[in-house]
């Protein structure tokens, strides 16, 4: 079964764009959460990741901070 992927991001952040581009290239469906326009989601991201930098990925509960290609690949099994 496909894993549930959430990407917490801001529209202006270059690494967020790279992350989302990478996921699209690998045909991974994900929920894109814009933390700049959603204060509750921003707080949720900070709580989950214990830090305030974007992007943050939530892959079936596993939290990955930043565009860490290797970790993302490993977590998704691609």
């Amino acid at each position: 079964m496909d894993k549930q992927v959430k990407v917490y991001s801001t529209p202006t952040c270059p690494w967020c764009m790279r992350t989302k581009q990478f996921l699209r290239e690998n045909n991974i469906n994900f929920q894109d959460i814009d933390v700049s326009s959603n204060q509750a989601a921003a707080e949720e991201m900070v709580q989950k990741s214990g830090q305030m930098g974007v992007p943050v990925l939530d892959i079936d509960g596993q939290i990955i901070v930043g565009f860490d290609k290797e970790k993302i690949k490993q977590s998704l099994g691609i």
Partner: protein, 301 residues
């Protein structure tokens, strides 16, 4: 042994790799990341051929171009040392040692750190080096921007529309940067510019809650939830000891991208080339590759 090892895969390194491989050279690219500072840039409107493109998109185009040629690429690898003996250059990284007849250093620049207590602990916990990325997370908060040049002004301008209060902490007597931006920052009602002020520590528990500053020999603490460090860039040139550098640590090159050591070339923002621009870095990369090719052809090695 490779004909050429290219260190770095920003605009300079990638362009060098494309030129070198098209000359039939056997090359290896060793890099920490792909795209370099270009991948961090916002909107780009001065790269010929693209009237408008974002940094990540342009970096993506560069990468695509490089990958078209099946170039040997070692990503996430940091170079620790370069040594030359006779006609062989050995490049030692955190993962191994490689040898080549020529090397192009195109390792670019990175953001400069404050080097004060608390900086490491609170990185991404209220302290950030990327205003473009993280500014929206500080809506309604009190923040400090450290620096007095264009990048600091740019960060302050992004924060003016988001934050409750913005301190600009500047070590010199007055703000630098472009007059238009400076005026906008100074005129904002929520900005307080503190000149002749030094940052001495970052404070907090789980996240940043303050910054310790020093002015007129007096220390005080400002209560802030966010800190944006914008004090400029430094060249990634520490791993190469023997080449000549200028006072900023930039590698000195001549118009053929030669360093003072034969067979070692350099290109892009890590060098003392005037003006740091994506298109200049790319052009310098191509020049360096052609110089390396010519170097080998003339010596038939």
């Amino acid at each position: 042994m490779h004909d050429l090892i290219i260190i770095g895969a920003g605009p300079a390194g990638i362009t060098a790799s494309v030129y070198a491989v098209r000359k039939g050279m056997n090359i290896l690219v060793i890099t920490k990341d792909i795209g370099g500072q270009a991948a961090w840039s916002g909107d780009i409107e001065n790269y010929t051929g693209y009237q408008f493109i974002t940094g990540p998109e342009l970096a993506g185009k560069f990468e695509e171009h490089m990958r078209k040629y099946n170039i040997a690429l070692n990503e996430n690898e940091a170079v620790k040392e370069i040594k030359k003996s006779d006609n062989t250059i050995s490049v030692t990284t955190d993962k191994g040692t490689y040898t080549a007849k020529t090397v192009i250093i195109a390792s670019g620049k990175r953001t400069k750190e404050l080097n004060v207590p608390g900086e490491k602990e609170f990185k991404n916990k209220g302290l950030t080096f990327c205003a473009t990325c993280d500014a929206p997370l500080f809506a309604g908060k009190t923040v400090a921007v450290i620096g007095g040049g264009n990048s600091a002004l740019d960060a302050a301008l992004q924060l003016i529309n988001i934050a409750k209060k913005v301190f600009v902490i500047n070590i010199t007597a007055g703000l630098g940067g472009d007059a238009v931006m400076r005026q906008k920052v100074e005129e904002s009602k929520i900005v307080a510019v503190l000149n002749n002020t030094q940052v001495t520590a970052i404070l907090g528990d789980k996240f940043v809650n303050g910054i310790k500053i020093k002015r007129e020999n007096k220390e005080e603490v400002l209560s802030v939830q966010g800190i944006f460090v914008e004090i400029g860039l430094i060249p990634n040139s520490e791993f190469v000891k023997e080449v000549e550098k200028n006072q900023y640590g930039e590698i000195k090159v001549n118009f053929r991208n030669e360093t003072n050591i034969p067979a070692i070339f350099a290109a892009g923002d890590v060098t003392d080339v005037p003006e740091k621009q994506i298109i200049i870095a790319a052009g310098e990369g191509s020049k360096a590759a052609l110089s390396a090719f010519r170097y080998l052809a003339q010596r038939r090695i």
